[in-house]
């Protein structure tokens, strides 16, 4: 069992990892064919994974309904929403599988009148939360926090048209903050993160980091 659950995945990770690293340096057609095959595998696996996700979702909510967990009523909506979407998706304006995607079907109506506004509503909540978080936590407690606060106010005003009306130098100062100090800090973080990412990749390729296979070591 340990051989199947540990050794084989580690060997696969090592072989694929090393192969894909070298693939980057080999422009030959054979290397490109390999890349093409591997990416197709990846796409296929990702496609199948959707079924696993759907199974997990339905299994969880079915159990919630069955065992009458608190809030089980919401789980009914999962089945209701998914069911209606699947039915109209398959119905495809009466064409079923005979033809490809039809236009102006009930599925499209649900997409534009349910999913689109619901998604946009969720995103818009961000504006409210941002305002409340800024009010509660943005304090000039220390000198560094004060600098941060002043920079934030300049950028917030300088990035919208009203900034130039308040003071004409606000947009250029905001641009300078974004493209000089902000960029310097971001690059430093990016370099650190990238080195960390390379080191983590190496640890996975060489089987040093195996926590992702389950268990602690």
């Amino acid at each position: 069992m340990n051989f199947l659950k540990r050794t084989i995945p580690l060997v696969i990770a090592f072989i694929m990892g090393v192969m894909m690293v070298f693939q980057y340096y080999v422009p030959h057609e054979a290397s490109q064919s390999l890349l093409k095959v591997v990416t197709r595998w990846g796409i296929t696996i990702a496609g199948f994974a959707v079924f696993i996700g759907a199974y997990s979702l339905f299994h969880l909510h079915w159990n919630k309904i069955k065992r009458k967990f608190p809030g089980w009523g919401y789980s009914i909506f999962v089945f209701f929403g998914a069911g209606i979407t699947i039915i109209f998706g398959l119905y495809n304006g009466g064409e079923f599988f005979l033809h490809d995607k039809q236009e102006g079907t009930m599925f499209d109506w649900m997409y534009f009148n349910v999913q689109v506004p619901a998604g946009a509503t969720m995103f818009s909540i961000l504006a409210f939360f941002m305002a409340s978080a800024a009010y509660r936590t943005f304090r000039a407690r220390t000198n560094e926090a004060t600098i941060l606060l002043v920079a934030a106010v300049i950028v917030m005003l300088g990035r919208v048209p009203i900034g130039a009306m308040i003071w004409e130098y606000l947009p250029p100062i905001a641009d300078w903050i974004m493209s000089v100090p902000n960029m310097a800090a971001k690059r430093a973080i990016l370099i650190g993160v990238s080195i960390g990412a390379i080191a983590t990749s190496l640890k996975i390729i060489f089987g040093i980091e195996r926590a992702y296979l389950g268990g602690g070591d």
Binding site: V21, Y25, V26, P27, H28, E29, S31, Q32, I45, A46, A49, V50, F51, I52, G53, A54, S56, L57, H59, L60, N63, P70, G71, A118, G119, M122, F123, L126, F129, M130, A133, A134, R136, T137, F138, K186, I189, L190, I191, G192, V193, I195, G196, A197, A199, T200, S201, L202, K203, I204, F206, I208, E209, A211, Y212, L213, G214, G215, G216, D217
Partner: protein, 403 residues
Amino acid sequence: MHKLFSTIILTILILLYTSVIFAVERKTLIPPSDFQAFDTPNDNGKSISLRWPVSPSESADIEYVVYASRYKSVPFDTEVLRISSTTMYEENSDSNFHYAEINLEKFFGEKDIDKEKNKNYFFKLVLMSGKNTVVAETIASASPKGNWFNWLKLNNFIIMILFCGLVLYLIEHAKKNPNLYLRKISGLDAIEEALGRATEMGKPALFVHGLNGMGSISTIAAVNILGRIAKRVAEYDTELKVANIDPIVLLVSQEVVKESYLEAGRPDAYVEDNIFLAASEQFPYVAAVSGIMMRERPAANFYMGYFYAESLILAETGANTGAIQIAATDSYTQLPFFITTCDYTLMGEELYAASAYLSREPLLLGSLRAQDVGKGILIAALVIGTILTTFGIGFISYIFMAG
């Protein structure tokens, strides 16, 4: 008389002027003296490079057209390039040569090229000005060949090998000297405290994955932390809920948590439904996770991985429920949101270091040291490079040039 004389003079001048213009327009086009075709270096064997010296007749309205054929004898009827004669100069040639790469696949079809490997392709260069054309004397030919190494990436390859060597050496070194110093990461120390609080309150701990899939290093790092948290949770006999957005991450998380429970000797406490797919898209995911927070009021929330705009909504909702919140992300635009709403935040590389920090395994600690050394080398290169470039010595930039 005077009038007649001026008219004659004017007529002569006009005739002279128009004849000059006429001569210029009719100026014979001079083809380039040479025309070469050769296999494009560092490629997959599907392109041919063409090179020819500039012609004295070049101007913006004169074009170069290249025709190709698979046989020297048949008409050249496939146009593979048409450019203004004052463009596409070869790099570092001071505009003395033109250079173009022809992707044969585009003109002769992928299957035909694959079928006839090492086949010669013939090229004819034509200089064109309206209907006036002139053909270069040489018919160039070359056969495309695939290369087994991209020499333009040699610097990158050497740096990669050196860094790999450094990581492996320092890991070996760490095996011999396991007591490496690690600075304190309060966020990771607080995990114990958060789980302890959840146990005391008898409420679950919620682990929220970021939005990226298993291909992202941040997700792998998050899964590593999840393994450690799950083990501790199993020991404390607390409930752990893990929200996922990606089905593959879900599978891995289930396996990791199951293994951790097994290791802690509590396989019976593992509930598969506690590691679930909340939704497969960003904002439905936010709605689902926020709903869980509001209804089940977990005592501890862990946000680990790569987050986007949803970070603030999640963390603000969590803060509102009074949970201890620990975030770890390398998504630096979301850091301000986590810092303002969470009790502890692990920034950038701290997320990757978490696994080593929590396990204190020498092998993992060694790689942390390698990251530090690698960073030191880069900082030195940046500083030295800046100084040298200031004095006009730019060789260091070639070392790091992208191929």
